[in-house]
Amino acid sequence: MAKKESSFINMVLTLFIVTSISALALGGVYNLTKGPIALAKKAKLENAISNVVPEFDTLVEFKIMPAKGKDSLTFYRAFYKDSLVGTAIKTYTNIGFGGLISIMAGFSPDGKIINTAVLEHKETPGLGDKMDIKKSTWSEQFRNKNPEDFDLYVTKDGGKVDAITAATISSRAFCDAMNRAYKAYKLEEGGTK
């Protein structure tokens, strides 16, 4: 078959057909994967919540604005047989080495940190990413600490958190996110009780 001539009408027609078929194919695939993608995202979030609060049967979700910061925090109050067992807070910081870090922090009803889970970050692999419990045991130092007497600042800034070796900026950012969550938590719980 001979090659088609590059006339105006040929070119327009070809591009129109190629883009139309692509658009149709993409639309189809999008519809097919929409469900699984939403499920995967939900599973990831629920997994993070269940990692930071004790076993629960009901979740109550609401958003509040922190005192400082541009974006709202999402609270997930976890109830087990109608009693509050903990609150998971999706918090964030913008001062990470690679910008935004999103963290799920769990607080027990008496104000102690239960556990933390990193949801999203762009820190340096091998250095800053050690804040993730999957990569190192660094974040275990937050467990069962009450931020009232466990200052959420790195030791260099006068706090009680041991920074990750060679990743003070990432550690500082982690503390910033935890602080934001704790302050909002204190404000919220102080208001309802």
């Binding site: 001979a2 088609k4 040929n10 070119m11 091998g126």
Partner: protein, 193 residues
């Protein structure tokens, strides 16, 4: 050239990474571990094979002057399909590679093979070429990622064999250049012999 040679040329003789030095952006960016390299390589191999297939089928109905835009639309469609499918069905891998998947569109290997091979050869040899080149790319990325993972984190395919850290520089960007340089030297030596 018989089909077997056509297939195997992608591994050493015309390896996209070691010899043609194409697609270095994902090569240097994602190969912090063997599994990342393999995942990226296989995603690229899929896109390369499918785009080679489609382009060799329609090469005669595409006017010369609009062939590059048409190729790019086809490649971008396949990349988006890979991205959506990966996001929905293997979210763990997507978390690692997510940022780099859209970059396959502008990966020089894909357009390079479309232009240099698929638009001039039969459908069957184009598929073989796509498979060979794609798997060669995956092979190179896995080796590169494996070496960096062994030296940098003391692990291979996520299985840790030393306590603590490895030589951190190999996980960071300079390590990618160093390892790639040595690998290119070795492959050149093999090809000369």
């Amino acid at each position: 050239m018989n089909q077997l040679q056509n297939f195997t040329k992608g591994f050493i003789k015309e390896n996209p990474v070691f010899i043609l030095l194409l697609g270095l952006c994902p090569t240097l960016g994602v190969t912090t571990s063997a599994i990342n390299g393999l995942g990226m390589g296989l995603a690229t191999a899929f896109v390369l094979t499918m785009s080679n297939l489609v382009i060799s089928i329609i090469k005669n109905v595409i006017p010369d002057k609009v062939r590059i835009p048409s190729f790019i639309v086809i490649i971008a469609s396949f990349v988006t399909i890979v991205e959506l499918v990966m996001q929905g069905f293997v979210p763990a891998l997507f978390e690692q590679l997510g940022l780099f998947i859209p970059l396959i569109v502008v990966n020089c290997i894909v357009l390079g093979r479309a232009e240099a091979f698929a638009s001039k050869n039969t459908v069957f040899s184009s598929i073989i070429d796509g498979l060979g080149m794609g798997l060669g790319f995956a092979f190179a990325l896995t080796i590169l990622g494996g070496i960096r993972e062994i030296l940098g984190s003391g692990a291979i395919f996520g299985w840790k064999f030393i306590e603590g850290d490895g030589i951190l520089v190999f996980v960071l960007a300079p390590g990618a250049f160093i390892v790639l340089g040595y690998l290119i030297a070795i492959v050149n030596k093999i090809n000369k012999a």
